[in-house]
């Protein structure tokens, strides 16, 4: 096993999967010669040719719409959206077609496409390069969503998404593209969708998060060391959601803090809280607390740290729960 950065693990997954399955195509803005603005697709065009990795016009709805047609012609497209917020023009195709077309054919045709994109804030970028848009995707029937937090999972979840018979959106934490580094299995490596990862075992409180919020939750757990034993649950897959892992952890600790960087209202943390309210309320020793971004546009980057969930805010939430 070699150590890889998160973005290198994504690139590795694309190489391995395209090698394995000749029906896989990679398309998006600047994914070819440049290898993507984050280099996630570097080397693919050189290795597999311009027919299997191509630069598209700058048109996100067109990219996803043609990917639907490519599926119908028998291809398995992997689409890159250059940035989180750049994917919004494609929501029309996603909601109206990607999530519905299989149903529309009463299951006769499959749309095994993957949409991957860098997401999230904290990178000192211009407006609309910082969003955490998972809720839009999770809320769309017919579409699955995965968000890795580690290099190994970035590779394994992307491979699972590409192999899945349904459309899958994979959000990659761009903040950790080049900060997270770990040993990544060589060759084929698949992390099944719908299986959470217990990032840290603990007994007093469960910090539930995904993607870029996992390293943050781990730092909060460190900060609480000696004061409380924190369990950190990395959901990895928002749909399907590993409810068993979620309920098992919370029944053990009796306390839950859910962390997301997206705005609070109707965000995924609300879904997690609702599942706990419906299925674990008698195991809980206090309210389910959320630490989230706020219901405002993602701010000017000089003050973005005030918006992003911080170690201090997570620690504060955990302390409030422990004191209750």
């Amino acid at each position: 096993m070699a150590e890889k950065l998160l973005v290198e693990a994504v690139n590795d997954a694309l190489h391995v999967e395209m090698e394995r399955d000749a029906s896989i195509l990679v398309l998006g803005e600047d994914v070819g010669k440049l290898g993507g603005v984050f280099r996630a697709t570097a080397g693919l065009q050189e290795r597999f040719g311009a027919d299997r990795c191509f630069d598209t016009p700058l048109a996100e709805a067109g990219i996803l719409g043609t990917a639907v047609g490519l599926c119908m012609a028998g291809w398995r497209p992997v689409v890159e959206m250059q940035y989180d917020a750049f994917s919004y023009p494609a929501l029309d195709q996603l909601i109206n077609h990607v999530g519905r077309y299989r149903w529309r054919t009463r299951g006769a045709m499959s749309f095994p496409l993957t949409i991957r994109m860098p997401y999230g804030g904290g990178v000192r970028a211009p407006e609309l390069h910082d969003d955490s848009p998972e809720t839009y995707y999770v809320h769309t029937p017919g579409v699955k969503v995965a968000i890795p937090s580690t290099p190994a999972d970035a590779k394994g979840l992307l491979a699972a998404a590409i192999r899945d018979p349904d459309p899958v959106v994979v959000l990659e934490p761009k903040l950790h593209y080049r900060t997270a580094k770990q040993e990544v299995p060589e060759g084929e490596h698949v992390v099944p969708l719908g299986e959470a990862r217990l990032a840290r075992e603990g007994t007093d409180v469960t910090l539930i998060a995904y993607g870029a919020m996992i390293p943050l939750a781990e730092r909060a757990a460190d900060a609480l060391e000696g004061e409380a034993s924190c369990e950190v649950l990395d959901l990895r897959s928002l749909k399907p959601l590993d409810e068993d892992a979620l309920l098992a952890s919370v029944s053990k600790t009796g306390r839950a803090v859910v962390v997301q960087e997206a705005p609070r209202v109707a965000g995924f943390a609300a879904e997690v809280a609702a599942v706990l309210a419906e299925k674990a309320i008698f195991d809980l020793q206090g309210p389910v607390l959320r630490v989230t971004g706020y219901d405002v546009p993602y701010p000017y980057w000089q003050i973005e740290d005030a918006y992003m969930p911080s170690v201090e805010r997570v620690v504060d939430a955990a302390r409030r729960l422990l004191a209750a």
């Binding site: 016009p57 067109g62 719409g65 047609g69 012609a73 149903w103 299951g107 959601l241």
Partner: protein, 355 residues
């Protein structure tokens, strides 16, 4: 075949008026083909007229009428091979009939019964696209994907004049041009998007002019002239098969029926203009042409119409005989591999329904 610049100005026409305007003919079409095309036209006309009646009788739901659009649908489809794919909008809901799709299937769609949701691969007709113009990129992606596989398949997308204002049309056309996809973008310009006339839809002199911006030829054709539509589409198909890329066809007609059964055009449309359009409607025009050419007799007209009526009678009977759909179908087909929660939801619903 026209060049990319400029788009065609006048409308291509083959059928005359039996008086001052002479009839032309299309090379390569013998009597058998001319009659087959007539059958397609009558089939679509009969489907449409019976559907309006079925709606009034409460036997189908809201229905998007395509009266006087039959020449565009039948003419274009006639220029394709069975292996070519058709991407219809709701205005072309019954276009599968010309490829042998059962009338009961399309009627079931308008009845909201799952039996109406067909497998596109059965007759190479994609699902009906309801959101405007968003299937243009699908047709382009399909055509491009087929080309990448080395397959000789053309894709045609049908849409209306209003759709050319949509971003999806623009993006699909852009991709088609860049990838040289063997695609045909077929615009049925009936000059109305529900109540919005073409002049309020675009400032472009013609819709075919838009094609220039995507680097593809823009053909203009009389949408009530089935032979002109056929010929123009055949040109586009030849161009696509030769690897020269996509073509935009603007077929001009005038919407002479409501947008749908729920629409009341008396609020916005000029009834005299509608009456004028109805007088030169496409099925009668082709019928008279064939009679003048000595290809069609009163007897054949009668038998073709009866055949179509019989097909519709059988179709609605079959659609109405479909057993009620099981509520469990709500949970099927959205995913190949569904989240476990769907099974829980189904179990709960079954318990409550007592099923």
């Amino acid at each position: 075949m026209s060049q990319v610049l400029p788009a065609e100005g006048g409308l291509r026409r083959v059928i005359g008026d039996g008086e001052s305007l002479p009839d032309g003919e299309v090379e390569g079409l013998g009597d058998a083909e001319l009659l087959a095309l007539y059958r397609d036209l009558v089939l679509l006309r009969t489907y449409d007229e019976r559907s309006v009646v079925y709606h009034r009788q409460g036997r189908i739901g809201t229905y998007a009428i395509f009266w006087n659009h039959e020449a565009m649908q039948a003419g274009a489809a006639f220029a394709l091979e069975e292996r070519d794919w058709i991407f219809p909008s709701y205005r072309e809901s019954a276009i599968g009939l010309v490829r042998g799709m059962p009338a009961s299937t399309v009627l079931s769609w308008w009845r909201g019964h799952p039996a109406g949701w067909w497998n596109p691969e059965d007759s190479n007709v994609a699902s009906i696209c309801v959101p405007i113009g968003t299937h243009v990129p699908h047709a382009v992606g399909f055509a491009w994907g087929s080309k990448l596989k080395g397959e000789d398949r053309v894709a045609i997308a049908f849409f209306g004049d209003g759709a050319t204002s949509e971003g999806a049309f623009h993006e699909g056309a852009t991709f088609a041009g860049v990838t040289k996809a063997p695609a045909i973008l077929f615009c049925n310009n009936n000059q109305w998007a529900i109540s919005t006339p073409l002049a309020e839809q675009t400032a472009a002199p013609t819709l075919a002019d838009k094609a220039i911006g995507y680097g593809m030829p823009g053909l203009r054709v009389d949408g009530c002239d089935v032979l002109a539509v056929y010929e123009a589409t055949r040109d586009a198909v030849e161009r696509a098969r030769a690897g020269e890329g996509p073509t935009f066809i603007e077929a001009v007609t005038y919407r002479s029926a409501p947008h749908a059964t729920a629409d009341d055009p008396s609020i916005y449309i000029d009834p005299e203009r509608v009456e004028e359009a109805r007088e030169s409607e496409c099925v009668g025009r082709y019928e008279r042409y064939l009679v003048r050419a000595g290809v069609l007799t009163e007897e054949t007209i009668e038998s073709v119409k009866n055949e179509a009526l019989e097909l519709m009678r059988a179709g609605i009977a079959e659609a109405e005989a479909e057993p009620p759909a099981d509520p469990g179908l709500v949970f099927e087909h959205a995913y190949a591999d569904p989240p476990a929660t769907l099974a829980d939801d189904l179990a709960e619903l079954r318990r409550i329904l007592g099923g």
